[in-house]
């Protein structure tokens, strides 16, 4: 199975971290993965997208060319561009706390989850990306949530931020549950 993913958000929302965690979880599951990014003279601010290609075999084309089958839009400003980058039959996960103006696009399924509000309920808005990632892996079956949890724990431990592990794991589980409810609707 091959997945082409686009994780988009505004600066600080952790879109790049979603991409990175996805990649690290792939190593646990012995999948091949490529992450691409644009690079320019500035590194901070504005919108950003982390592109990830996942495959059980060696990856040919490493570029996501407006043909993502799994995409995330964490903010209003990047929503339209992300929607345009999803192929027919693909799914776009939308942070409905931030994206207020929905656009229908035939052939593209949109899953709306208020992850920023859910994160605030957990006590830290910054884990919105992890809630969303939990929802993405759960709804798509792309990766196991446990593999993401493992990658999260590794990263936070390496950065000596062990105290943040709990809230992130809670956030991941909350996303998994939210996706299950959404899929059952």
């Amino acid at each position: 199975m091959k997945y082409k993913c686009a994780f988009s958000g505004s600066g600080g929302q952790g879109a790049a971290l979603m991409a990175k965690l996805t990649c690290l979880a792939c190593i646990t599951e012995s999948k091949q993965v490529v992450m691409t990014q644009t690079y320019g003279v500035e590194q901070r601010g504005g919108d950003s997208t982390g592109f990830v290609v996942i495959s059980d075999e060696a990856i040919g084309n490493p570029i996501v060319e407006n043909d993502a089958n799994v995409a995330v839009a964490m903010s209003e400003s990047i929503y339209q561009a992300t929607l345009d980058g999803v192929r027919k039959g693909g799914t776009l996960f939308v942070n409905s706390s931030m994206v207020k103006n929905e656009v229908e696009r035939p052939g593209v399924k949109q899953v709306h989850l208020p992850v920023s509000e859910m994160a605030q309920e957990l006590g830290n808005v910054r884990v919105a990306n992890i809630i969303m990632l939990g929802a993405v892996v759960s709804a798509t079956g792309m990766l196991k949530a446990d593999s993401i949890a493992g990658a999260l724990t590794d990263i936070l431990t390496q950065k000596k931020k062990d105290k943040l592990v709990d809230i992130n794991i809670q956030a991941l589980n909350k996303g998994v549950e939210a996706a299950e409810k959404e899929v059952c609707k």
């Binding site: 490529v34 992450m35 990856i59 040919g60 490493p62 060319e65």
Partner: protein, 356 residues
């Protein structure tokens, strides 16, 4: 034991050179190659090596030559304008038959150009920027895993033939992060005895031992003839390429690096539709894999060369094909997306299949 890491491809270059025994890395920062020296600065001291940041690329290339004179295989990593500045020393190393490993994280030129990735260094890499009848062995990996697999190959080539070896990787591929699997560390440089030609102290050599790029008329002739024989041997023995679905192909795509990698999907997509498309991906750019084109089947009615430039390798393909089949070109360079997309490549192949 094999180990899978998630690294930027520049870091994969750094990690593989360390694992393969290189202990001296000379560099000067330049996007998109700087990650290599950041990585080696941290990691080389752990294994008794050193990354030395010089004051310029000129200094880097001459330090690399000096390190080689001492019988050590060193490495450098740079990009476009930096590579241009190193050409004089590379010519000297070729003349002095001094080995080294280099990476050009190719970016758009000419001049300082742009920091975005490109394949516009093909001419410079394969023809050389210094004067004289010299050659640099050029390897073009298409992904992180191939960088790792070609590192031992490059080291062996450089020390076997006493010649500079240049890895060329477009800046887009350099900045990608991917899963890369490494073998246990093994010092490939230790398999080669350099003591009969290197400076290892006065006691080991006769008084007039000389390593030089400067010759008298007669010596110059002999040196060039010896080099000619060496280059002929390399050309005969060291051509490398990958070919897929060539045997019955109607259209053959030829591409190296990232476009070569994209051909895997391109050809699979066409074959799924029952269309006969194949590809040849040169891995050694010098020596160019002419052998891959010697026996292209009669089914091939056209060849499409795709590059991240305005047509450089296409010259070598035309020389190899020698007029037997029409050779077409598709390429672009620069901009936010500095390369042809798979969709654009597919469109061009479709036109050729229809005989347009």
């Amino acid at each position: 034991m094999k180990e899978t890491l998630f690294l930027k491809n520049t870091e994969a270059f750094a990690e593989s050179m360390i694992r393969c025994g290189i202990r001296g890395h000379f560099a000067y920062p330049i996007t998109p190659a700087t990650d290599v020296m950041k990585y080696t600065a941290r990691k080389l001291p752990e294994v008794g090596g050193r990354m030395v940041q010089m004051e310029s690329e000129l200094a880097v290339s001459n330090a690399l030559a000096g390190y080689a004179c001492a019988g050590k295989l060193g490495a450098t990593s740079t990009s476009g304008p930096g590579m241009t500045l190193m050409q004089e020393a590379i010519g000297f190393m070729a003349a002095g038959e001094l080995p080294c490993i280099m990476l050009d994280a190719m970016r758009v030129g000419p001049g300082d150009g742009d920091i975005i990735g490109a394949q516009s260094t093909y001419y410079q890499a394969t023809r050389g920027g210094a004067h004289g009848d010299y050659r640099v062995i050029v390897l073009a990996p298409s992904c992180g895993q191939e960088i790792v697999e070609l590192m031992p190959v490059g080291i062996k080539l450089s020390l076997t033939y006493r010649n500079p070896v240049l890895f060329v990787v477009d800046g887009v591929t350099c900045q990608m992060t991917e899963t890369t699997t490494f073998d246990d560390p093994y010092d490939y440089t230790a398999d080669f005895d350099t003591s009969d030609w290197s400076y290892t102290g006065a006691d080991d050599h006769s008084k007039r031992f000389l390593l030089t790029g400067s010759y008298t008329h007669e010596q110059g002739y002999e040196m060039n003839e010896r080099m000619r024989r060496k280059y002929e041997e390399i050309t005969e023995k060291e051509q490398r390429w990958e070919q897929v679905e060539v045997d019955d192909a109607e259209v053959l795509v030829v591409a190296f690096g990232i476009h070569g990698r994209m051909c895997k999907d391109l050809v699979a997509n066409f074959r799924n539709e029952g269309k006969r498309v194949g590809f040849i991906r040169p891995i050694s750019l010098w020596p160019f894999p002419n052998k891959a084109f010697e026996n292209i089947p009669s089914s091939v009615k056209s060849i499409l060369v795709v590059e991240m430039n305005h047509g450089q390798m296409v010259d070598d393909v035309r020389l190899a094909v020698n007029g037997r089949v029409p050779v077409h070109f598709l390429g672009k360079t620069g901009g936010d997306i500095p390369m042809c997309t798979l969709a654009e490549m597919s469109c061009e192949v479709s036109k050729l299949l229809e005989g347009e």
